[in-house]
């Protein structure tokens, strides 16, 4: 018997997993059996849409990890900073010229000195920096309140680039060549610094970010009501427009980043850098620039996610906790996989919603179900659904 078990260990393990999966499926099926079709469809819709936002947050974490191997614990606070910058431009009727100018100048300074501070000694670079700063300032301040979308998007773009580049320049760059764990710990420190900065700059009171509003009524967009399916579903299902917009933006971001990593030289260089920074540097890749671009891109993604989340529920420091909820999605999809971030996000969104549908009173949806699914997947595929299998020479 012992010999048989030892010989067929792998098959028996799989058999146990299969039994567990079937038992879980039977349990879930039994729980859902008595429910109206409308509830199940509604839960699925909510799960997919919420999962899309999770995917967008996960994408920012994955981009950093893909390029540098660092798991960024500061991502949640980068979301908060991005959302707050957007709010500052979106809700103020008269943008301070000095403030906008300072933000633009700082952003251009960081961009132009990505490779070296000596770049600014060249007259041509100085002119580009000045022109860029003037252009950004103009976009942030032109027109009145009717132009607030332009102001806010430009301001958020500049703020995100500045945040990303500053984090990379002053905290990550000095650690090139050091153990990755040091950089991961550094992101924890960055998170606390961003926490403090946010609190000082914007306070801690919850802010209303009215981006998903009907301009006629100043109220949130009315949800799409699936009245035509009411009879078939034995009830009403609805689709919330703001979540559809967030989902659509997430998909656009995903497609953009997949194309970027696959077909651009910078994207390919990022992938090479993630394999081995010192090796990449030795073959002539500009690791510093690549890391800077990566952090700027991740900060921009975090800002988009912060704005969408803030628009859906209000802007507060609590938004940073969304990144914690997304960690299972990142691990499920695979730490380096862009596709995995989206798929992981959607799976976790659906699992959360169905967990809540079945048993909300014990928080099964948020505290239990995502982690059970994560465990099952990791046991079967330790690198996540779409993660790269790592083979190391010993």
């Amino acid at each position: 018997m012992t010999e048989y078990i030892n010989r067929n260990k792998r098959q028996l393990t799989w058999l146990l997993y299969a039994i567990a999966a079937v038992a879980l499926a039977l349990f879930v099926g039994d729980q859902l059996a008595g429910l109206k079709a409308a509830r199940i469809v509604q839960t699925l819709i909510s799960g997919v849409l919420v999962g899309g936002v999770y995917g967008l947050v996960a994408l920012g974490i994955v981009v950093i990890n893909k390029a540098s191997g660092v798991f960024n614990f500061a991502h949640g606070w980068m979301m908060v900073v991005g959302g707050m910058i957007f709010w500052s431009f979106f809700t103020v009727s008269e943008i301070s010229l000095a403030g906008a100018g300072l933000l633009s100048a700082a952003t251009m300074f960081m961009i132009m000195t990505t490779v070296s501070y000596r770049n600014l000694l060249e007259q041509r670079n100085l002119l580009i920096a000045a022109g860029g700063a003037i252009g950004l300032t103009a976009l942030m301040t032109v027109g009145g309140i009717d132009w607030r979308w332009l102001h806010a998007l430009t301001g958020t773009f500049a703020g995100a680039i500045l945040t990303g580049l500053a984090v990379e320049r002053f905290t990550i760059r000095p650690l090139i060549g050091q153990p990755l764990f040091t950089a991961v710990l550094m992101t924890l420190a960055v998170a606390e610094v961003l926490h403090g900065v946010t609190q000082i700059a914007w306070g801690t009171v919850e802010l209303h970010l009215p981006i998903f509003v009907d301009p006629q009524t100043s109220s949130r967009f009315k949800p799409i009501r699936l009245e035509g399916l009411r009879e078939a579903l034995d009830g009403l299902a609805i689709i919330r427009v703001e979540l559809v917009i967030a989902f659509a933006l997430a998909i656009v971001a995903f497609i953009g980043f997949i194309l970027f990593f696959r077909y651009t030289s910078v994207g390919l260089a990022m992938r090479a850098t993630s394999e081995d920074q010192q090796l990449a540097q030795s073959v002539g890749l500009r690791v510093r620039v690549i890391l800077a671009i990566t952090w700027a891109a991740a900060a921009f993604l975090a800002s988009i996610a912060g704005v969408l989340q803030g628009g859906a529920v209000g802007l507060s420091l609590n938004i940073s906790f969304v990144a914690l909820r997304v960690f299972p999605a990142v691990l499920l999809g695979g730490l380096e996989s862009i596709t995995g971030a989206l798929v992981g996000g959607i799976i976790i969104g659906i699992v959360e919603q169905f967990g809540t549908l079945i048993n909300s009173s014990e928080q099964a949806g948020t505290n239990l179900a995502p982690y059970v699914v994560l465990m099952l997947v990791l046991v079967i595929r330790p690198d996540g659904l779409f993660g790269e299998k790592r083979i190391e020479r010993i």
Partner: protein, 457 residues
């Protein structure tokens, strides 16, 4: 925004009670005990710590503003018995470890001075209950949990004293109101859709369910939980409704009640399902954040939400306490987001601390002679109209939480600022950052009455 502040200030004229307060400085409304000790040259510090930057930040931040304003007021009016008033506080960010660390620092740095400590959250109260007793330090807290105030058995009064009734008692009080209002709440069934922490779960205990059932108000056994970061709670709300709930009750803050109300409107159930909650749902933040979803009648989704109101509110300007706090709020140029429960109640808590300090000092003969045990003796014997009636502190006979409560309803002001609007046509609309905004108004529906005592049942 300035215009909004101005109009919100105008709202306070509701009821026509604003007796020249813009021009004349109000008298301090409390009837404080006269000092028998001269403390000139000394400093009396108010010690406090709690979550100023974590999950509760949006409700606690105005505490610091109120403390700062009150201290400035007292020091410009001769201090307490001649002593300068000061504050020593720390932000713990909602972390238990940070709270413990702050407590350790306070007790080691100020072992003789620290007789009374102000805390913000039930979690901190539970964490420090035994240590406060051991160190003989009295603590005032806004609304503690049963465990923090009365121990695990619900029958052992400790060293913490709460300004609000226990949340479970507030829920029982709401059940009384529902039972007494059959026209508004026919065949009432309450379902909890609430946050999952100690605060959110208060009231979901079997004792509360049994008490409400005895009044003819059914409460669903299974509460539905959601997190402050959730963007979509259709599943939780629908679960409660499918379970039979026609009233949804929530222990949540700021966006929490607004999210539930918005979901009810999305489902087209805003008329069929009533919404209610603990005292924090009546806060300004809910009135402002709740405007992003409008009902079919054009008023914000949270219009008509019921809640506890165990103290006077900003709109009750006929009351001297509210007049006084409002005047200080205006003089210190505080913003609309700070015009909330925390700012108002903090003035009351400071008043209570000052009264307790004076009474104890008078009894002991000097400030240095006062110990935590002396302070506890004073607080335990207090039957005090805080700030002349903003709220009432009566901690006799082993009580550790407030016993009086009211039910109020959240409405929006009409164009003439004389009462609630019936629709957008007659509502007061002001320019806000997101366009036109309604002006929130809290209307008390009952007088102050005793809450039922449901702990330890």
């Amino acid at each position: 925004m300035k215009k909004l502040c101005l109009l919100l200030a105008l709202l306070l004229v509701v009821g026509g009670a604003l007796p020249g307060m813009a021009q004349d400085m109000m008298e301090y409304p409390s009837d404080l005990t006269e000092c028998e000790v001269d403390l000139t040259g000394e400093t009396v510090n108010i010690f406090h710590f709690g979550d100023l930057s974590g999950p509760y930040a949006f409700i606690t931040q105005p505490i610091i503003s109120a403390m700062t304003d009150a201290i400035r007021y007292w020091n410009s009016h001769g201090g307490i018995c001649g002593a300068e008033l000061g504050q020593i506080y720390e932000d713990t960010g909602g972390s238990r470890e940070a709270a413990q660390s702050a407590y350790d620092r306070f007790t080691s740095h100020y072992p003789d001075e620290l007789d009374l400590l102000l805390l913000y959250s039930s979690d901190d109260g539970e964490l420090l209950r035994e240590q406060l007793a051991e160190d003989e330090i009295v603590s005032l807290i806004a609304a503690g949990s049963i465990e923090s105030l009365y121990g695990e058995d619900g029958q052992t009064p400790g060293w913490l004293f709460a300004s609000n009734p226990l949340y479970i008692n507030q829920f029982g009080f709401f059940c009384q109101f529902v039972a007494a209002s059959p026209e508004t709440f026919p065949d009432p069934v309450i379902g909890f859709v609430t946050w999952p922490n100690a605060f959110g779960r208060a009231g979901t205990e079997p004792a509360a369910r049994e008490y409400c059932a005895s009044l003819g108000v059914n409460v669903l056994e299974e509460p539905q939980f959601f997190l402050p970061t959730d963007t979509d709670i259709l599943t939780q709300v629908q679960n409660a409704i499918d379970g039979g709930a026609n009233i949804i009750y929530s222990n949540s803050l700021a966006t929490g009640p607004a999210l539930i109300a918005g979901t009810l409107v999305d489902l087209g159930l805003e008329e069929d399902i009533k919404l209610a909650g603990v005292n924090w749902v009546m806060d300004t933040t809910v009135g402002l954040l709740g405007q992003r979803v409008l009902k079919p009648n054009g008023l914000p989704a949270v219009d008509g939400m019921f809640g506890s109101m165990p103290f006077r509110w900003w709109t009750e300007l006929s009351h001297p306490a509210v007049q006084f706090v409002y005047q200080q709020f205006t003089l210190n140029e505080r913003g609309i987001t700070e015009q909330n429960i925390a700012y108002l109640v903090s003035w009351g808590v400071i008043d209570s601390i000052i009264e307790a300090t004076i009474r104890t000092m008078n009894r002991m003969g000097s400030l240095d002679a006062v110990t935590g045990a002396d302070m506890r003796e004073t607080v335990e014997s207090m039957d005090y109209a805080v700030l002349g009636g903003l709220m009432h502190h009566r901690f006799e006979e082993g009580m550790r939480d407030a016993t009086m409560n009211r039910i109020a309803v959240l409405k929006y002001a009409n164009a003439t600022m004389t009462g609630p609007a019936t629709g957008p046509g007659d509502a007061m609309l002001v320019d806000g950052p997101s366009g036109k905004m309604f002006v929130p108004l809290v209307v008390p529906l009952t007088d102050f009455m005793e809450v039922p005592q449901l702990r330890g049942r």
